[in-house]
Structure formats: C-alpha cells, structure tokens
Symmetry: D3
Subunit: 67 residues, 6 copies
C-alpha cells in the first residue's frame, strides 16, 4: 500500500529507466518493510530545469555552467 | 481551506470531468467537515502512464496487455 | 489507481468523518472517471493550525479571533 | 535541507520570475530558520487552469469571466 | 538532486528500517540515473491507519479484520 | 491562489518562525507574480530527523556528529 513519489529534473529519462526506478523502489519496500508489491504505487515527476532550484538558483543556470 | 490533490493517469480526462471532480470533492468537504467551499483548493495532476507504477511495473505495460 | 491527498487543519476530525471522506472520494472517482475503487488510494493529512497559513497569517490567529 | 514546493497556475510565468521565487524562498529560509542555502531545494509546479479548482469551479471559468 | 517522498502506514517502522529505505532509494537513483547521492533528499511520511484509505475504506478496518 | 508546501526538519521551529515563513512566502508571491494574498495557502510540514535523508543517511546521524 505504500505510495512513493520521485521527483527528478526533466533531462531525458527514458521509459526503461523509469521502469527500473518503479521496479527497484517496489522491491525495496518489500524487502525492508514486507510491503505487498501488488498495491505499491510509484509516481515519477519530471521537472523542467527552470522550475527546480538548488542553492538559490535554477538548475538551468548550473547546467549552462557545465555542472 | 482544505487542499486536495488528485493524481490520475493522463488518459483523456476531459475538462468537463475535471470540473465534476472539483465540484464533487468541494461538496464532499462541505458535507462531511462543514468546510467553506470558497477557500477549498483542488489540484488535479495527470501523470503519463510511463511515469505511474503499480505492482512494480509501468501502467503503460498493463494498458498494452489490455488491462 | 488514483491517488488522492486531502489536507485539512487538525481540529478534531473524527475517525467516522475520515471514513466518509475516503468513501466519498473513492466513489466520486468511480462515478466520474470509472476508476476501480480497489486500487484507489486516499491519504488524509491533518495539519496543526500553527502550520497552515492563509492570507499571510496562521489559521491559529484566525481561530483566536473567532473566524 | 528544506524542501519547498510552489504550485501556481500555468499562466505565463517567466524564467526570470521563477528565478526570483527560488532566490526569495531560499533567502527566507536562511533568514528565519538559518537554513543552509546550499541544500535548500525548491520545485515549482505550473498547473493548467482546467486542473485547478477554487470555490468548487475551475480557474478557467473564472478567467473567462475576467476574474 | 532528486527528491523522493515515501508514504507508508504508521505501524512500527523502526529507525533502522527508515535508514535502509533512505540508503536504498539513494543508491537506486545513483545506479539508474547517475544522480549524485550528496544532494538526494528522501522524506518518509508515516500515516495513521485511520487516515489511509484503500478500496474506499480505512486501513484500520482492514487491520481489524486481520488483513 | 498559489499553494506552497514547506518541509523542514522538526527541530524546535517556533510559532513565531512559522508565522514569519507564512508571511514571507505570501509576500514573495505577491511581489513576483502579483498573486492575491487572500487566497495564498501555505502548509508547513515538520519532519522527524529519523524520517529525513540526505546523502543516503538520516539527518539524525548527521546531528549526532554535530553537523
């Protein structure tokens, strides 16, 4: 029954990578807390780099600097 | 003053259906908890089926199997 | 498969009222979007009035004024 | 280490305005709670006006009425 | 820089188990998306069983039936 | 109409500090986006240090090391 929300920047995450995240998180919750995979929900949000801030600045600016 | 967030898969939800969800949830909170509709906020998030996982797999795969 | 999060102030919401919210929202999603109740998840968060702000002030202050 | 999520309607928010929100919130958390800006995360969600409800109706309808 | 929110029912999750979840999710994001662990944030919410609904009913009721 | 959620560790945030956060964020949204303070909602979540992870470990452990 767990609900997991993963937020990452929108930078070319593939369908295959999303699938690995969903599988991995679901398995982790089963291993650590014995949660039933059948009702584990995972939602991935991809956020534009203009809309994500860290250290007071947009990720876009960090990417432009090559960080 | 309640805040409600509804997450569903992005599969052709119409503007009219969204309107019904907003109306229905706001009415429910007034009926059950006597909350003032004027300040009840509802936000609907539509999530790509690639980004939604249940039972360890993407909804896209389930839809491809006709589920 | 929908996920619904309801946030209200922590002001004596009873177990029965929570049950009505869960039942009502689940039924609404079935009625409007034909969503399967079996996998509809509802999470209710109760927030201290000190931690909820509207119009730039804490709800606690509004309650103290009888609003 | 704070995490801040700002949700606004998608109505032409510019990159510059997003930058000001990120900067302003990060500075506020440093001023009020002495939080280290280096690990303060801000995520801005822009929500279609069809998907945002207030007072039981979609923001789209309010905008159509000039509100 | 990812942000992950894990919601589970409040049913005796130990500090050690929380630690395993944090470690596991952070490692998963590094493995799948090459995300820097140093800025990966994980927040675990424990939700009272009265406040969690599935299939239109409170988890409390399911637990009372031994499910 | 904006909705802002601020998550910080539960480490003695006072009612007065919460009030400053609510006031400050509401003013920022008015200044940057001309949002009406009357309908700006702010919710502050305080998270136990056992439930907050950064760099793959619980904040509790960092605090124990004096970080």
């Amino acid at each position: 029954m767990p609900y997991v929300n993963i937020k990452v920047t929108r930078e070319g995450v593939t369908a295959e990578q999303k699938s690995e995240l969903i599988e991995g998180v679901t398995a982790l919750l089963q291993k650590v807390l014995n949660k039933n995979p059948a009702t584990t929900v995972v939602v991935i949000d991809e956020i534009d780099t203009d809309n994500w801030g860290i250290a007071g600045e947009q990720v876009t600016l960090r990417r432009n600097r090559g960080e």
